[in-house]
Amino acid sequence: MIALIIVSHCHDIAEGVCRLAGEMTQTPVPIAGVGGIVDENGQRQIGTDATAVLEAIESCWRPAGVLILVDLGSAILSAETALELLPDEQRERCLISNAPLVEGAVVAALEASLGHSLEDVNRAAEAVRNLDKVLR
């Protein structure tokens, strides 16, 4: 079983995507959300934090791998930084997905719950990119 990490600029988006993805599982899949930053006054702000991504990967770590789904921009940079901070043997089993965040997480959670490999789960999640939302 692989784990999923959801990285968004917004805490509520990360938490919400985790909840939605969690609905898709049949067997429990480790899913952690990382969103937003906390400023010097302890207030949540929009942003991403590589250290928080790293902590999420470490807390959810599974030998089968960790798929990281990101929203955009610095979420990807933070995920990359987090991976650089991991030991080589863990980094090799982590993958940043090209899937869109919401649809990708829904598909990935279900596929992970079926026990599919990191590569297969990511392939299914990334396939979302080729589908139209509305049939015309």
Binding site: M24, Q26, V106, V107, L114, A124, V128, L135
Partner: protein, 96 residues
């Protein structure tokens, strides 16, 4: 019954929310219990023929309440797979 032959059922979606994400999810988990290749098509609105083992593809059916779905299965356990999907989508006693 010869399970080796392809089999087909049609079901009408009775759920007031249509074929929504959670029902789609249940379809995928049921389909994955079987070896048979299982496909579906929305007969009410133009849809692709989709793989029932993929949640992404099931969502492509965009099936609303009252839409009729044709589900086909091909493989050694095709009939059992269709029975299980019919039990989910149109359980005995529900409106046709």
């Amino acid at each position: 019954m010869d399970d080796a032959k392809p089999a087909t059922i049609t079901v009408t979606i009775s759920n007031p929310n249509g074929l929504h994400l959670r029902v789609g999810k249940e379809m995928v988990y049921i389909a994955n219990r079987f070896q048979a290749q299982i496909t579906a098509e929305n007969l009410t609105r133009p849809s692709p023929v989709v793989d029932v083992k993929s949640i992404l593809q099931i969502m492509q059916l965009q099936a609303r309440t009252g839409h009729t779905i044709r589900i086909s299965a091909d493989g050694p356990d095709a009939h059992a797979a269709l029975d299980a999907l019919r039990d989910l989508l149109a359980p005995a006693g529900s409106p046709a």
